[in-house]
């Protein structure tokens, strides 16, 4: 597609339920990132994919969080047994590679998660 697409744009769930957030990156972009932004805060790194592999999962806050990427394209971030502190905007970004370095990041509009 023309840009990074994320769904759902808005999700309200009850504490303890599982949620899945989807990211469709820009066509041809090999790198994909998930970040989290709490209200009025900066961006917190969660996980990075290069192709289908995840060389850096260091930002996942607990084992309730997992992510996968299939076909080098779409990625899904899954949060199990959601807690109120998981409420945030989850942002996905993709980039092409520039030699050995990451290129410009392009962000989707985010998925706003509210856990009641």
């Amino acid at each position: 597609g023309a840009g990074v697409s994320q769904s759902p744009s808005n999700k309200v769930t009850e504490k303890g339920k599982d949620v899945e957030l989807r990211c469709d990156p820009i066509s041809g972009h090999t790198a994909l990132y998930w970040y989290r932004q709490s209200l009025g805060q900066g961006l917190e790194f969660l996980i990075y994919f290069q192709g289908n592999s995840a060389p850096d999962k260091s930002g996942l806050p607990s084992d309730r969080f997992s992510a996968e990427r299939t076909g080098g394209s779409v990625s899904t971030l899954t949060i199990q047994r959601t807690q109120q502190e998981d409420s945030a905007v989850y942002l996905c970004a993709s980039s092409s590679r520039d030699g050995a370095n990451t290129g410009e990041l392009f962000f989707g509009e985010g998925s706003r998660l509210t856990v009641l």
Binding site: Q41, Y48, Q50, D56, L91, F106, F107
Partner: protein, 110 residues
């Protein structure tokens, strides 16, 4: 890990004024990007600038990697420049992740 500090944290300007935003980082970088987050939350990439100087219209950026800082200049500011500006860096020899600063909120009044 690498630390990123942005200053000032907040800035209020009258339309037409100029401003300089600063980003300091604690280690060598191979990646530095500036972003603008508009009031609706959309993040837009302004510059990919691990070193050197770039200009795009009223905006320009300079990164002095050896001294571990980057500057974003906004000239003749407009109300549409309002929002939060983020600096993000990738550590030399580190993973590919970008570490974001806490951002700088800019308000441009008409």
């Amino acid at each position: 890990g690498i630390q990123v500090e942005q200053s000032p944290p907040d800035l209020i300007l009258q339309e037409g004024a100029n401003s300089t935003l600063r980003c300091n980082f604690s280690d060598s970088v191979n990646n530095l990007q500036w972003f603008h987050q508009n009031p609706w939350g959309q993040l837009i990439n302004l510059f990919y600038i691990p070193s050197g100087t770039k200009q795009n219209g009223r905006l320009s950026a300079t990164t002095v990697a050896t001294e571990r800082y980057s500057l974003l200049y906004i000239s003749s500011s407009q109300t549409t420049d309002s929002g939060v500006y983020f600096c993000a860096v990738g550590a030399q020899g580190g993973s590919e992740k970008l570490v974001f600063g806490k951002g700088m909120k800019l308000t441009v009044n008409p």
